[in-house]
Amino acid sequence: MKTGFYPGCSMKGSAREYSESLLAVARELNRELPEVPDWNCCGATAAHNLDPDLALALPARILAAAEKDGMDEVLVPCAACYSRLKVTRHELLEDEQLRQRISGLVEADYRGSTEVLNILEWLSRVPELEKHVKKPFQRKVACYYGCLLVRPAGIVKFDRPEDPQTMDLLMRKLGAEPIDWAFKTECCGAGFSVSRTDLVAKLSGHILEDAVSRGAEAVIVACPMCHLNLDMRRPNIEKRAGKKISIPVIYITQALGLAMGLPAKKLGLQRHKVAVKISAANAAAKDI
């Protein structure tokens, strides 16, 4: 079973720490994650707003490259990239004519043998993950899934769309206590981060406030866009809320890395805008 890795733009830029922590964890778990050769942009929000063909062609080229390289599956940690690749795979396999046309456009044939995985699926498959935990993450956490990991339910066919559990189960394995809260799949504002920062401040603010009021000590995410809105937009959120909100937002891979006892630096925790004054329990005393 060969598992490829599609980083997409954010893992190389604003979400470097997501990539760093993922690769650090993968090394520790003895899992190879070769990048999809000669990968390109997934099209993100822009392509499918402008040109339906382009929106399918870009991910189709990535999938074809992975397939040609003999990858049985591609791990796509960014939830937006995951959605684009997963939707494209679905559409192409539903409609043979479309598949042939798009394959013609990108001059590469995707036959559908390569599957698309999100980070939670990939982590859930690690057998006996608990055994790798050296420093149990004994904290109350708010598992935040956002919109694209579980939707559209009919296409991703992953977890329960209204009340997903996979991340909660994973965090429990790491020794954390996931809170029961109402915002795990609410919108963070997503791509409006630049054009309507006020909206993002409101929506992301609601998410953080609910997590804090229910006693969470960290928000766990699996999407660079969510992270950007909840972390980098914190000044806007705080300004709107009129109060300081200091809850850190960390990637599931970082949480796993901490629980495995990896050093904070290797996991890129210093890159966050909101200081991560949290670690797995044993290191709790000192700030990172």
Binding site: A153, E162, A182, D210
Partner: protein, 671 residues
Amino acid sequence: MARIGVFICHCGENISATVDVKQVAAAAARIPGVAHSVEYKYMCSDPGQQLVKDAIREKGLTGVVVAACSPRMHEPTFRRACAETGLNPFLCEMANIREHCSWVHEKGDATTEKAIDIVRTLVAKVKKNKALQPIQVPVTKVALVIGGGIAGIQASLDIANAGHRVILVEREPSIGGHMSQLSETFPTLDCSQCILTPRMVEVAQHPNITLYSYAELESLDGFIGNFKARIRRKARSLDETLCTGCGLCTQKCPTRKIPGEFDAGLGLRPAIYVPFPQAVPNKPVIDREHCTYYRTGKCRLCEKICPTQAIRFDQLDEIVEVEVGAVVVATGFDIKHGDFFPEYGYGKYPDVIDGLQFERLASASGPTLGEIRRPSDGKVPETVVFVACAGSRDPAKGIEYCSKICCMYTAKHAMLYRHKVHGGKPYVFYMDIRAGGKMYEEFVRRAMEEDGVQYVRGRISRVFERDGKLVVKGADTLLGARPMEIEADLVVLATAAVAQPGAEELAQKLHVSYDAHRFFSEAHPKLRPVETNTAGIFLAGACQAPKDIPESVAQASGAAAKVAALFSRSELVREPLIAVVDRQPPPVYSSCVGCFLCQSACPYQAIEKEEIRGRDGQLIKTVARVNPGLCQGCGTCVAFCRTKSIDIQGFSHEQVHAEVLALLNRGERDA
């Protein structure tokens, strides 16, 4: 020499739009043995039938093929027409060129060719048809009604009042069903129990009705007019003939904190209990799962205090065998429970309840004696959000259908809440209001306009708890999809109406078909709504599809009328399309070798052993014999028989072989 008549129907243009009927008639005329071939616009009409009858008389036909619709539609019509002329009706066959051809293919030569092929096979078959005589079977004039809700009660009373005996089987300790749990009924707001309990009492007192409560159907064998039912009477743990229903035991039972089924889990009951005060029969039952004696071996308090010594701890389930002529299935519905709506917090927050639970809160016999108090802390809720279509009409949840009753009962709930809590604020989130029914629309209007219920068109996305309130997030789609947040004290979900949990198993016991949602299927969605595809088994109420009370009652009376019609004759006439075992003159007697493989294969226990004896009484051989009363003509034995000694009348080896040959040899024959 065969003289076959072929009659091709246009069926308006159902057939003629895709099949060239003139060409079919011309081709049929060329088939050897066909003496007459015509086409006509409506063969089933009076003039159409007359064409058939005239041709039989004038041309001396020995067989008839009507190429038209499915035999399920008009085979009886044409067989009767043939019989009127003196031709044995079993010498008439239908060639189905509508469902099997014109409806499923495009217009074209190939479609016409197929229609000709179908006619050709039936002509070949009918040449081998033999005159058959119908079978007479006696009718047991006793009806079995399964389910003692309002539908089962109504059906039982109607059949009993027509003068026939009824055996009513109810799974729960009392009859009454869901209707007995309801507070008031729409659109009149009359009390459900007040109109139901007289009917329940009538059932108990009716000389023609035998009630088996706390009992379930174990198995059903046989066929229309002659069913054999085995009923499991579950052990009540008391002697019903001694119990006076005084209720001492239920008052003294020390195990009292069991969530009661009748109160939809909101109230508590003891381990020995009567579900509700008006229960019929008013005899308690011991819940062995919770009873201290069955769990620990100690207690037996009820036994000690029972004034008539009626308690029987060692009582066993009892199997009762009854013979019945007809069955009415009235097993009702359930509502969706459990972890189905994680986004609404149903099952997680005590104050998110379902419609049945609200009925119990509003009912004078309920856990709050009719005061609307929320389950968590008994507080009177100031704001209540009612959610229609919780699960219904939601393909993503796997329930595409409309549950039909929710629009009306939600309006009733909101109204009752306003009547009981004057300052209360009720909101109803809805997709569409479906209030088709006499005085229904007016009722909903009254809720909106006179009782001040705030109707919001839109769905809710989530219910969560914050600071002791239930926050309901939704959208008002009539006000530009404006997102809404309501802080409610109580949320009532009109959860989807679904089939009873045991519906599939019961359908298999009865050999009736059911749909993808496990509701039982009627024989025809429009024209045979109370019959199933199994003769003698009828449907009533919400086991067929979600229904309200008036509809359930109407269907129950319809089913009862069907049973009464069946019981109006002392003998039934059955088609003779059954298996027969070969019989020949001596010295062979029969090609059957007596292996009796057929006996083990027969699903209807219709095969018996017959001893053939000589004049001196000496046993010559033992062979199989088919009981014509029990055989259903399924043909399983035919497939099993190693010596081809069993045949189905009307579908013999010879006939089927002729049909296949007609297809294989079509080129040569027509040439």
